[in-house]
Symmetry: C2
Subunit: 148 residues, 2 copies
Amino acid sequence: MDFVVEHLKDHGIRPSVQRVAIMRYLMEHCSHPTVDDIYRDLHAMMPTLSRTTVYNTLSLLEGKDALSVLTIDSRNVHYDGDVKPHAHFMCRECRRIFDVPLAGTGLNGSPATPDGFKVEHTHLYYDGLCDRCREEEDAALAKETYFI
Amino acid sequence: MDFVVEHLKDHGIRPSVQRVAIMRYLMEHCSHPTVDDIYRDLHAMMPTLSRTTVYNTLSLLEGKDALSVLTIDSRNVHYDGDVKPHAHFMCRECRRIFDVPLAGTGLNGSPATPDGFKVEHTHLYYDGLCDRCREEEDAALAKETYFI
DNA sequence: TTGTAATTTTGTAACGATTTCAAATTTATA
DNA sequence: TATAAATTTGAAATCGTTACAAAATTACAA
């Protein structure tokens, strides 16, 4: 069976054409797309797809834990079809989001939440500058210093 | 000197009346307020304060690292005047945000980001159910089971 | 099959958070 | 005191998201 359909069924979601298309998009793109990225790309291939369906489907998938919601970017929610534990890094300049392996962070699964709290998800985010934007900033700073 | 004014100066920010009021609000409220929380409460005391000033000031404070921006909630950005390292938990039901000590999480400061990346901030978020909402959900589930 | 109910999708309109922008005000400086 | 620079303000515009009711599709029972 198609791995996307299987993934949906595993999470108790009936695999409609639209749901499969959206889930497949997420599983085949590791770019952490926004709602608009998903809508634009899929709409080009399925002209009848509506923005509302993308919103509806993403929140359905979220509720069934079939995807991961990234809130690292305050401007846009991003989605990740890879639900295996990993961290993320966002560049404050180009705003691209990168996967970061958890290995090395030391993170383990037991936060000191108050008694009675039920932890369902953990998100580890980093932000700063990616290599490319860091070079640009360094160059700009050097130039600035030169002219002072 | 007033600790709020001092905090602003330490971060290279000129302490205008509005900036001090907003920074003080953040430092005296550990409730992780939204822009609207801040505006509503301060506007009641300073009727001339505008929403735009709250937005402007918060992004100025953010750029100077005088506060911490919490993106844990996809619906609203929250702000934290406490810039000492700590994690956060958001209840998916009541959407309240709680501070969580880092001790016990094992987190250390060296993620395996690609070469050349500059990590500037780390955010550790948990979500799930708080004690109060968990009890309510358990009660609702018990009732449901009973009637089936 | 056929009819009926349940589910899903769609498009429009409304909503709410945030940004833009230019004018007004305040503060710093010569 | 005059002038420039910085800051604040309010209105309008923008953009992401939600609400909602109609249309289309799918599931199921007769």
